[in-house]
């Protein structure tokens, strides 16, 4: 999407950019993470081209682990903002909340894992629907499209759900591109934009195996993720997207 970018004019009190956690591990890992994600994709690329469905399913697990690690290590969980935690799984939340141990697995990994469930479950079918609206095959390649959507949802919604929760108003702002840009938001915009651009090489007559659905889309999404994360976390951090 082509947009002008300017300094925020009327920042809402709640809409502040997300900073990564202020510790060394987080600061280091946040730079390692996109490299790991891209390496994973590059490593799996041959098999994704050869057999998209099994390879994408397998790399989906690894991507999930990487994204959970990223969220747990680098990102502040959703409690940090004013938005209340949704009561999706009250039993687990209660168990997680009282044990406020900084280094505890419960405080980090479980919310991240919950974010995974909460984001992937509704987001994948929704994104698959959007992919179809954008031209994905509707009568064939269902597994391909769903897996593609799952990859995009892991790249985009998992960190966002981890930091913002599932507050409706926040998500409206996210979709309407009203929130200030930060690392996580940059990931989402980059991934979606990259996936859209990923459709461009498909009609070319190069007759390469990798031109088939949905390899280019997933590739675009991964590259867009890394670029968006880098740009969103550095030069554009805190800025807001302005239309017109």
């Amino acid at each position: 999407m082509s947009t002008g970018i300017q300094e925020p004019q009327k920042p809402k009190p709640s809409a502040t950019p997300i900073d990564i956690l202020n510790n060394d591990t987080a600061k280091i890992y946040t730079h390692i993470h996109p490299i790991l994600v891209l390496s994973l994709y590059a490593y799996k690329f041959q098999s994704i081209v050869a057999e998209p469905v099994p390879a994408l399913s397998e790399s989906l697990i690894w991507l999930g682990i990487l994204q959970i690690a990223y969220a747990a290590i680098c990102l502040p969980p959703t409690g940090g903002s004013a938005a209340p935690v949704e009561k999706k799984k009250p039993g687990e939340k209660k168990r997680a909340a009282p044990s406020k141990i900084e280094s505890g697995v419960n405080g980090k990994i479980i919310p991240a894992f919950l974010s995974l469930v909460v984001s992937v479950a509704p987001a994948t079918p929704l994104l698959a629907g959007i992919l179809v609206l954008f031209g994905a095959p509707i009568t064939t390649h269902h597994a391909h499209t769903l897996l593609c959507a799952a990859h995009i949802s892991l790249l985009t919604t998992l960190p966002l759900v981890y930091v913002h929760g599932v507050n409706g108003e926040t998500w409206r702002e996210i979709i309407a591109l009203l929130r200030p840009i930060d690392e996580v938001y940059g990931c989402m915009i980059g991934t979606v934009f990259g996936a859209w651009l990923g459709a461009v090489p498909i009609p070319l007559d190069w007759d390469r195996e990798w031109q088939k659905w949905p390899v280019t889309i997933v590739t675009g999404a991964y590259i867009g993720f890394a670029v968006g994360k880098l740009v969103g976390g550095t030069v554009l951090k805190g800025k807001k997207i302005m239309f017109d």
Partner: protein, 938 residues
């Protein structure tokens, strides 16, 4: 909004638009150089050669020719193992038939091919345009040297022609007897051929002709309808085989046909989809068979048939299609036509026993080709004696290369005393083949300076259009989107696959744009049911529209909605329900306009009656009555248009009317199509005249200060929609329902003029491709261009041809105009809301607020209407888009002029770009659009 602009913008815009046709014309003259041809008939006297071979003319082997063209007769249809032409194969085995694969150059459509077969020249790409403008006298071959002209000029020469009327158009007044068949309905597999076959027996008994030409169309029609593997294909081949048998047996048995040569050939082939026009192996490989009992005596039985192709569709020896011409000249004994680039087929040389005769034949061919070469490369030595010799080693230009070949001919001929005929023959053929190869590629003929000039002019037009824009402050996201779209489009024009698959670009950008519209409007307000957000609905509709027709090259045969069981075959009743709904929708709209015009006429009367009271009451009372009268008046028009579509489709595409009851079909089949189409056009004309008249009276009576509501613009748009429906294939008509829905949802979005301009451009392009068009010549549909036309009329057919292929873009150009001015409330019932939904108070309040907001926007939009400044901005943006596209296409054609695909991909794209910029942009967007904008101000 144009106050800030100091510069006068109208002149810039005018110049920008005037530059477009100039740029196109300049570029076209450089890109398609008009090849000068040599006028007059060739004679034997010209054949003066530098030799001592004697001047005696070699004897003619035959004195008559039966030339049987079977349209789209691909090589494997005759020679392959699955062929139905067993008799021809038996002749090949016996040696009585000499088989070849005749390479046809692109464009593989009938008229250029017939030109190649008769003149021996390689028709320029211009002939493609002329193929559609068939009546153009400059494209006839009446004045050119052809084997027909040569045979006619012979003593007692008399030509007879049956079949495709392309021949009659190309050779007006040539034939003593003729019966032309036009390939009007592609669904006609039998009549077109029976029309030829019924003349065969009597003509075989006549002894007065020396050339009998037949051109069968049925096989091509079957290809277009069901592809090369369709169930009708083998029976048709057997039918053709039977005709060959009939003719060959007559030649064997009838005394007056004793010296008759029988040629069977295809004009072009077909691809796996059954279409042609491009340069795939299937399309460029028609069969060519020379048959005579006399050949058997010379060649004997030494060929296998059926056989396997050596290359793709390459059976036996491969020759050029133009080689037919000098070969016929030799066999029938007439001078080789002047513009011929063909080479006498060497296999026939054994028919002459004397070496002198053989050499003499080739010599005439060489001599004639040399004249063309000399005219093209005048600076080299083409004399009959060895002059200053050229250094023939090292790197040579093509001209030098040919000059070297010529030099070796002259040397070999001067040594003819040594009687080394093989050596001379070899040097002749070397020259002929090289000349043919070099002269048929036009790469060297581009006028590069004109190409650059044309591109620069298009660029100037782009700059001018940009200058004429209103400059307003900050760069908007819409502006960036517009610019990026244009830039990316220009870049993609350099990729041949993106030219072939251009629809993908527009579908992709449009999806992105609707997504942007969704985000953009979500920033302002969030609808509780975002799934039903207008932009999302637009995207859903877009997704259906893009799947309607599969287009392009790569996946041309892939599944789409039109060919799905949803609409085809027995469920065509669903298709016709949708078609009926589309007609109903537009009829109701028109009837509303008519009803309103009647009520305004009533108002008029009352005012004249001097009643003096408020006439609103009377208006109110008579509304229902007027609507009823309006419906009554419009219904016949809508019904006629619908019945015409049904009748036309049952002729043109009977597979689409299978679900309709046979009784009804029998009734519509009996109707006169030309008359019906004329009734529809006439009805539209009458309706338009009446509505313009009524609106004009209403506008005259209105107080000066009260602005019109733009009803007439909407009226014009709705009448035009009915015209477009008439010009659209039945299976595409439901698309107009979707377009109408998109128009409605666009009106809900209340877009800014710039956004609306971009949206219109995107949807115009989408509609063009969604209706099944592509950038290939073969995708141009001729089927609706003869609606209501009884005899060929270039301007009428041209207009109808444009309307039937650009129907979608024309619809959107006007829809955009009407949306821009919010004429007559395009959104229809957008101010009404269903009271059943008003059970929650919140909802009511919200809805009120929303409606108030909409009303405010409406007021703003109404302010736009009637302002020429807004219209100028609109045209400027459209001009920028078109000029930008032209720059891209021209630059690509210039840079890639030596590309392998220049004739199959880039040249057609240029022709399409010309149609887009001149006919669509200047004619419709600017011309018709201005008219609608103007009447909207009444």
């Amino acid at each position: 909004m144009s106050v800030s602009a100091k510069v006068p913008q109208w002149p810039y815009l005018t110049i920008a638009n005037l530059l477009i046709p100039v740029a196109v014309l300049v570029f076209a003259t450089g890109f398609f150089p008009y090849k000068p041809f040599m006028p007059g008939l060739a004679t034997y006297e010209e054949a003066d050669m530098p030799d001592s071979l004697g001047q005696a003319q070699p004897p003619a082997i035959f004195d008559k020719v039966v030339f049987m063209v079977v349209d789209a007769l691909r090589s494997d249809f005759v020679f392959g193992e699955e062929s139905g032409m067993e008799y021809v194969q038996s002749l090949i085995r016996s040696g009585a038939a000499l088989p070849f694969t005749a390479h046809a150059t692109s464009p593989t459509i009938t008229m250029p091919r017939v030109k190649a077969i008769t003149t021996g020249s390689i028709p320029s790409f211009l002939d493609v345009i002329l193929n559609f403008a068939e009546s153009d006298t400059s494209s006839t071959l009446a004045t050119q040297d052809t084997w027909l002209a040569q045979l006619k000029a012979k003593e007692g020469g008399k030509l007879v022609m049956y079949g495709d009327d392309t021949w009659l158009k190309l050779f007006p007044g040539f034939f003593a007897r003729a019966d032309g068949t036009s390939s009007f309905f592609v669904s006609d597999f039998t009549e077109v051929d029976n029309n030829v076959t019924r003349h065969v027996p009597e003509e075989l008994l006549n002894s007065d002709w020396n050339a009998l030409i037949m051109h069968y169309l049925g096989l091509d029609h079957i290809g277009h309808k069901t592809g090369p593997k369709g169930p009708e294909m083998i029976p048709k081949q057997k039918e053709m085989d039977g005709i060959v048998r009939q003719i060959f047996e007559a030649i064997e048995n009838e005394d007056h046909l004793e010296n008759t040569l029988f040629v069977l050939c295809g004009d072009h082939g077909m691809n796996e989809g059954g279409n042609h026009g491009g340069s795939s192996p299937g399309e460029t490989s028609p069969a060519l068979v020379f048959m005579s009992p006399r050949l058997q005596n010379v060649f004997g039985a030494n060929r296998e048939s059926p056989t396997k192709a050596s290359g793709e569709f390459e059976y036996y020896k491969k020759v050029e299609q133009s080689d037919i011409v000098p070969t016929l000249a030799g066999l029938l004994g007439f001078p080789v036509p002047r513009n011929n680039l063909g080479v006498f087929i060497a296999d026939f040389l054994p028919l002459w026993e004397q070496d002198y005769d053989r050499l003499r034949l080739l010599q005439q061919n060489v001599n004639q080709v040399q004249k063309i070469v000399e005219a093209t490369y005048p600076k080299y030595q083409w004399g009959a004696s060895v002059g200053e010799s050229i250094d023939c080693d090292g790197d040579l230009t093509v001209g030098q290369h040919l000059a070297c070949r010529w030099q070796s001919i002259v040397k070999a001929a001067s040594d003819a005393t040594s009687k080394d005929f093989a050596h001379v023959t070899r040097s002749y053929y070397e020259f002929l083949y090289d000349a043919q190869a070099i002269m048929s590629t036009t790469a060297s003929n581009y006028d590069v300076s004109k190409l650059f000039l044309g591109s620069s002019l298009a660029f100037a037009s782009l700059v001018m259009a940009w200058c004429s824009l209103d400059k307003f402050g900050p760069i908007t996201a819409t502006g960036i989107f517009y610019t990026l779209t244009l830039a990316l489009y220009g870049v993609l024009m350099f990729a041949s696959s993106y030219v072939e698959e251009e629809h993908n670009f527009w579908y992709w950008v449009t999806s992105g744009w609707f997504c942007y519209l969704f985000i953009s409007s979500s920033r302002k307000e969030w609808l509780p049911w975002f799934i039903f957000h207008p932009a999302v609905t637009l995207l859903i509709l877009h997704r259906i529209i893009r799947r309607w027709n599969q287009t392009g090259q790569k996946y041309a045969g892939a599944d789409d909605i039109v060919h799905s069981p949803l609409l085809c075959g027995s469920s065509s009743i669903l298709l016709w329900s949708l078609v009926g709904a589309a007609y109903m929708d537009v009829t109701i709209r028109i009837s509303r306009h008519v009803g309103r015009s009647i009520s305004s006429a009533d108002e008029d009367k009352q005012r004249k009656g001097g009643a003096g009271q408020d006439d609103n009451d009377a208006d109110f009372e008579s509304t229902d009555v007027n609507r009823f009268i309006g419906t009554l008046a419009t219904l016949p028009l809508g019904a006629t248009a619908f019945v015409f579509k049904l009748a036309f489709t049952s002729h043109d595409a009977p597979e689409l009317t299978q679900g309709i009851s046979p009784g009804l079909l029998a009734w519509v089949d009996a109707l006169d199509l030309v008359g019906m189409a004329r009734m529809v056009f006439g009805g539209l004309g009458v309706s338009l005249s009446w509505l313009v008249f009524a609106e004009w009276r209403r506008a005259r009576n209105r107080k000066r200060t009260v602005a019109g509501n733009g009803d007439l613009a909407l009226t014009t748009f709705d009448l035009l929609t009915l015209l477009l429906l008439t010009q659209t294939k039945a299976q595409n008509i439901p698309l107009y329902l979707l377009f109408r829905l998109q128009t409605f949802f666009l009106s809900l979005l209340s877009l800014s003029p710039t956004s609306l301009s971009l949206t219109t451009t995107l949807l115009s392009q989408t509609a063009f491709f969604a209706l099944g068009n592509s950038n290939a010549i073969s995708s141009i549909s001729l089927s609706n261009s003869y609606n209501g036309v009884a005899s060929y009329n270039i301007s009428a057919v041209g207009l109808l041809l444009f309307l039937s292929n650009w129907a979608g873009p024309v619809y959107w150009a006007l829809a955009g105009t009407v949306l821009l001015g919010a004429h007559g409330g395009v959104g229809g019932e957008r101010r009404g809301f269903d009271t059943s939904e008003l059970d929650e108070r919140d909802w009511v309040v919200q809805e009120r607020e929303r409606l108030v907001g909409i009303r405010e926007r409406e007021v703003e939009e109404e302010g736009r209407r009637g302002e020429w400044g807004v219209w100028r901005q609109w045209v400027a943006l459209a001009t920028m888009g078109v000029a930008g596209g032209l720059v891209g296409v021209m630059a690509a054609c210039t840079v890639l002029r030596t590309h392998l695909f220049v004739w199959s991909v880039f040249s057609p794209k240029f022709l399409f770009a010309v149609a887009w910029s001149v006919a669509h942009h200047l004619g419709v967007v600017v011309g018709l659009g201005s008219l609608v904008w103007w009447v909207g101000m009444w």
